[in-house]
Symmetry: C3
Subunit: 655 residues, 3 copies
């Protein structure tokens, strides 16, 4: 039995952030501890970018500074999430071992001077990463400040170079066994791509025209697997030293490059970095989506490893967080299952590539608004911890998501480059979120038994098992709503007979899928009662299955929405309000209820354990009907029947 | 005397498409033959992408599967256009011989994994291509199914690598003889580019700032010539085996990379691939332009080698063909001279890079609308074949086009990057097409004797012979209309004296060309009676030559259109309606008449042999006055004085 | 004591241009002299692109043609600015010595075939450049036509290759002395970038994610320094031969790649190339800015080395100059301190990369409008020369500019990619120019004693000395107006305490800089009395320092403009009219007066020596009140109290 987040939280909500003290004189460290305590910080992440400090030249070890820091944290009552520093190799690694540097698909080297410039396939890199990890684990495995291990940081770097090519071949050999099987899976009979030896296979490098899409798909799988292999190798080292300490690596939100379901299986703690744009009106919904996904990956409480106290520095225009937004979004994470609310980074850098990324202590220091708000959040989290930690959230609705389907669909040479898997996922989640329906995410092959309603925004490629799982869900009395471009391909990106799997077509009453009619930017397809966007289809369907038809244009009178028993098919993407109304209606019929009736727009409500979180995402005050008498855990106020939330306000009600 | 398309058609219109049966089990081949016969298919193109199947490892030969297919086709009464497979080398070629891979101008390799990744200059590539071609020709030269050879596919790949550099030097040596002549032609006295040895000359590789334009121009000529050399080498092999079988290679429509006039001279059958965007209102005009050009290259009937039964997969948004459009555009090709109407590809792929490119049999199979429409087209072509095959189209109007002028003009560092040769060509052709004037294309040095009206949308660079040819045309009583940026440079891209050749200036009455005034996006130049776009000029002209002047702005009162005797010069691009009206008027004065008087807009009319084709490009029905009594060959209906065409309808009238 | 521009002008205004006679037969040279004399040309620049002509193969020397040209010029009374030809190495240099070719940051080679394809760090390049320079100087140092040396041309080429890497390390060693100092300055403690050996340091090459900004900053410094080293090496050679002949190299206008202050110190004559877009309504203001900057670099008269008689060829759409504009802008340069008005190039090329860049003699030749206008300008300059040459311009206002601040700020990963240093500089200069205030430019550490008003549009990074200099200016009774993002970083791009230097915050009354609020495109920040653009700030300030506040939005009521004593701080960029009004008011209070009261908009007025230049930048005539009686030097007309200027007209008044 592996340890879990619970072993780190022990009744508290972890609060703190990445701490990169290498940037500061030791004098500042003591000042930092004072401010951390002032703000209620109980956890910091050390060592993420410390490789060149720990191993300033090959084989050297400089642990003294870290010893002092670990002790200092412990004395301050602050736990340490200790990171392996392997995401940012020191300059000497690339200099002495150019084979550790990754190559892009057009053959360019990614040089040191930034970060994450390592090849997952490099034996040399792995050897050096293992050595420093081993020594870190040996030295700090027994330190009382240690609460968690953090492996690497935001794994993401692909490699198209020669050592990666060799690894790709090994990976393919393991997947396919024989060249014949690979040639069949990749469809190399087309365009004369048949491989006669394994040695002929390369990562997808820039071709003259269009790559083999299954090669691209497998390369994405390979990249995710190789990065995970790196992660697991380091994890196994630290686990050997400290079997009782949970291990995590931080995901990026809805990140394309990792198979999130597969990775989550290897994590003791699922953690994520989350940076909604403060200027984006749908920022909180994006946050909710990522939180729902992360919670579903964790199958319980999860860790917000990184967020920003203010602006980030990697957008074109980087907006600060208005007063109250940091607190609102922090509490949203708790509402949706987080037992840890952390930041990148504790103290804002004065130098280097991220000095314009905000910190909990910004350039303005202690007097800055940013730090003052952080203090308040620390107090709020302390007030909630007892009632919240380790409690669960229950959802009647599951949204299916699968990275392999995303990878298979996101290619060149497809019907419409306007179809973006992540955007479609957001659109569907938004409809449910605005309808105040709590949602989990699930893998298409997961057991769906606990859900009244399963929605499939888009699963372009599906395994047979996944298709059978959907059919079984409906047969077992569950409701299913599916968007277009679902079940089109199998796991090798081979188009299923008829352009959509026959089992699914039968389920929805589709006889013939004649043509896809993707829509241009600004174009819409009129349907009875709403307007469709992005996509439309020329379908021949069973009469009784037709719920809504297209009106006007080439598709006039043809089915737009199909509905047979508890199975629904949407051949277009309804505009937001229409999709919300439709899904709310279907959910209602399926017995999935909103968190609370009569909720105003833009007030988010979540039940976690026996608590009801209400969050006002507007600047205008809003009044919410909450029948009965409750206590607001944040203020201690007694609330009866109704509560008014001010700008960006949150109440956490019990009773 | 070489064979021609007539030797393949033998009274039929060829109907069919690329057939890539390597993708399917043999069981499907038999199903394919059944469906082909059902649809009236009488021709398929085999082997285009078969190299790795025919030669799965270096030197191997696997012909058995192709033997069976050739026999199967023959038994089914379906002729075979057999392709050399050399456009898509197998992975082993690149693996064992990296010298066969092309390089981009910034030094990147184009790897296998796509298609067309061969260097035209690679001796190794040529040797392997010749060997497989030789063996194919030896084996199938005598097969009764064989009707035509198809060399390679859509030749297009440039190469900037070292072997190409050596070939470029050889090519230049042949063109110029001496370094002095090259230095003079390239103007290397400017920017210190004088070459002291042939070895110093490279393909135009990415420089710090602006390339030598004549080097770029010659490199384009070289690339076209080298690709043609590859093509001719393979052609000569198959001709040696089968002198009686015509040979083709398929052009892309108005393709920048090949000198279409030069290439056409080497073809027994001129064939083209044509994919107008079904969503483009000017799609049919684009089709007409390409068909007119291809017919002019062929000097008679030509072959539509590839079109799509539905959507393609290489646009951002790929639209299907609405009901009837495939038929309309297929018959348009016949109207404009095609004796062969074929598709890429017979059966839509389920795997690989083109699986979203439609097929005659789509993913929806036999029941799909797409296949049902294909069947109807097969029947229509059969009905027309006897009356149509091998008949000619006569035009009073010639549009001059020259790839060398295009190549010379499409460079960096010129007056306006908004001037696109192909777009200007389209604008002029559109005006004539909308005026229902039938047009040929001609090379500027062709005999223009048969044309009442010659139009020159834009010939930035012209040889002396071409200029003399224009002048002679006018002197001989012909009419000439010329657009701006014509006769500006000679064949070395050397600006002619005065910024435009004096012979042309004399012809139009231009005394001094003071300045070009290119127009910004959205900007126009008001002229008496119309608005000019894209370009305007500050001209000093003979009083009597001034037809229209600019109004307002810096050019107020200066000449916009010049007209002296039968020579016209347009210093701007009139808006579409104005250009149409002007050209229609000039054509009328020159004695060039529309196909039919009183034709509605968007009804296209073409006379081929003794037939009159009428095509309705709108969805709304339209009535056309056709005085007299006729028979519609498609329906057998008798038509008297007027005929109503429904949505996308076609009638083919005789009598 | 070095010679100066005065030694070349000798009472004349230099008039002429780059002359590249290698392009023409010798017959044309004689025609050129005739036309030059006709136009009043008294100076040409020879040899800029002559390397391959002078040294057609390694070590050869062909001087005969240049001998003849020098003699011909001298006989024609035309002085020669003789260029070292080192900006465009001949093809043989790259062929024999690939180490002379520069590399881009992603490893691509910049090949010959264009120009400026040399590595500043290449010992081989430098050796060859020195040799040809030595021989040129030896041969022509004593030629009577020689009036000035021109080194290279528009130095600009960076290099990221291996020899440049070695040079970068040497440069860094000289700057920092120890690796520790470098690691500290670059902040390598962040992201594990600590260097353990000098050998590990590279130019900033494409990384996986974000470069080290101080590495980028130092690489920009290094590039500027290395190019200057190349320049100085050649200068020292010619100076050794001709200590009495002034030397220049031509700058590009407000060019990012050279530290203009540092370079100007090495020039005897400061010269610049200036190409405002004739279509840009702010073209003349851009011209004025560059002229003010160049004059300030020169600390006196300067040379307009290149302008265009008509269109250039490197914009997307290249507009010609309307009638009169060439003259207007030429006289503007004289008004703002130029004693030399020259062009690229004398005779427009007929071949090569710049054949669409206009010449003084265009393709239309002698009869062309362009040449006719050139003749008039020649006459005007001759009329002005006596009264103008070597006179000075006095300004009460200084604008501070520093390339290092620009380099430090123009990086990835900053608050807003919309903030463009050059655009901000233009906006502030525009406000002052439109207010008819004459401005100098100054380096932030220059003596500011002579200026009543100092404006700082934006100095993101500043040294301590620069900050102290500003504070001292205010303490000494001067007025200071500063824009946002000033004093944020030190010279290592290290954020100063509090996000802005405390000395500056004290000066303006800023207590806490809480957040930057950059604005999106199209977004503005309402302030009392005007609208701010681009940027806004959340400031906590001393009550008494608040001049204007924001209205509405998150910043409602917070300070927008601060004003304490004579120090002003603008936390946003007011819209143009508002900035003009504010600066005019502050200037007035500081005792800085417009050139003339009551000037209409778009009439530019400059006092040079005892002359008053009035320039009408509109096509509509305008009347200007000029109290008293004056003589117009251009016409000899007597002007009393008022003068009317026609389209693009200029008067030069004395008395």
């Amino acid at each position: 039995m592996r340890p879990s987040l619970r072993d780190a939280t022990r009744g508290r909500i972890l609060f703190g952030g990445d701490y990169n003290p290498e940037q500061w004189p030791e004098k500042t460290w003591h000042e930092d501890v004072r401010l951390m305590r002032d703000a209620g910080v109980n956890s910091v992440t050390l060592g993420v970018f410390s490789w060149s400090r720990l191993e300033p030249e090959p084989g050297a070890r400089e642990f003294g500074w870290l010893d002092r820091l670990m002790d200092l944290m412990h004395e301050g009552g602050i736990g340490v999430v200790l990171a392996t520093p392997t995401s940012a190799p020191p300059p000497w690694l690339g200099r002495l071992h150019p084979d550790t540097l990754p190559r892009t698909e057009d053959g360019r080297t990614e040089w040191w001077g930034g970060r994450q410039h390592f090849s997952h396939s490099s034996a040399t890199y792995r050897r050096h990463a293992a050595a420093i990890t081993e020594d870190l684990a040996a030295r700090y495995g027994g330190h009382p400040a240690l609460t968690m291990w953090h492996i690497n940081n935001e794994y993401c770097t692909a490699d198209h170079g020669d050592e990666a090519a060799a690894a790709f071949r090994r990976w393919l050999r393991a997947r396919y066994g024989t060249l014949d099987a690979l040639n069949t899976a990749w469809g190399t009979a087309f365009w004369s791509q048949g491989y006669d030896t394994w040695d002929g296979i390369l990562p997808p490098r820039t071709p003259h025209y269009l790559k083999n899409p299954t090669q691209v798909l497998d390369f994405r799988r390979f990249t995710s697997d190789m990065l995970l292999e790196c992660c697991v190798a380091e994890r196994d080292i630290v686990v050997r030293h400290t079997p009782h300490i949970p291990v995590t690596t931080n995901f990026m939100p809805l990140f394309f490059g990792q198979d999130g379901w597969r990775w989550a299986e290897e994590e003791d703690v699922v953690s994520v970095d989350l940076y909604p744009d403060p200027r984006d009106p749908l920022g909180p919904q994006h946050g909710a989506l990522v939180q729902d996904l992360t919670r579903s990956q964790a199958r319980g409480p999860w860790m917000l490893m990184e967020q920003a106290a203010g602006p980030v520095n990697w957008r074109g225009v980087n907006h600060p967080k208005p007063r109250g937004l940091n607190r609102l979004w922090s509490l949203q994470a708790v509402a949706r299952g987080a037992d840890a609310v952390c930041y990148f980074q504790w103290r804002q850098s004065r130098q280097g590539a991220e000095k314009f990324h905000s910190g909990m202590v910004g350039h303005a220091g202690e007097r800055g608004r940013s730090f003052q708000e952080v203090k308040r959040i620390g107090a709020d989290l302390a007030a909630l911890a007892g009632a919240v930690t380790d409690t669960r959230i229950r959802a009647d609705v599951a949204i299916l998501h699968d990275w392999h389907a995303w990878w298979a669909g996101a290619q060149e040479g497809r019907p419409s480059a306007r179809v973006d898997h992540a955007a479609v996922l957001h659109a569907w989640h938004r409809a449910l979120w605005e309808a105040h329906l709590t949602t989990d995410f699930a893998h298409p092959e997961h057991d769906l038994g606990g859900y009244r309603l399963v929605v499939v925004p888009q699963l372009y490629a599906m395994t047979d098992a996944a298709i059978d799982n959907l059919v079984a869900h409906v047969r077992a009395g569950g409701t299913l709503v599916t968007g277009f471009l679902t079940g089109v391909a199998d796991e090798d990106d081979r188009i299923r007979p008829g352009g959509m799997d026959p089992r699914l077509r039968d389920l929805f009453g589709i006889r013939v899928l004649h043509e896809w009619w993707p829509l241009e930017t600004g174009e819409s397809a009129d349907c009875d009662g709403f307007r469709g966007t992005l996509w439309s289809e020329e379908l021949e369907a069973d009469e009784d299955a037709v719920e809504t038809v297209y009106r006007g244009g080439e598709l006039d009178g043809l089915p737009a929405v199909l509905h047979r028993d508890r199975a629904w098919y949407l051949s277009t993407l309804p505009e937001p309000d229409a999709l919300r109304a439709l899904l709310a209606r279907i959910a209602g019929e399926a017995g999935a209820r909103p968190v609370l009736d009569g909720l105003p727009d833009r007030v988010e409500a979540v039940r976690r354990g026996d608590l009801l979180f209400l969050l006002n995402h507007e600047r205008e005050p809003v009044t919410v009907a909450v029948p009965g008498t409750h206590t607001d855990l944040l203020t201690g106020d007694r609330i009866t029947d109704r509560v008014t939330l001010g700008r960006y306000a949150v109440v956490v009600l019990r009773g």
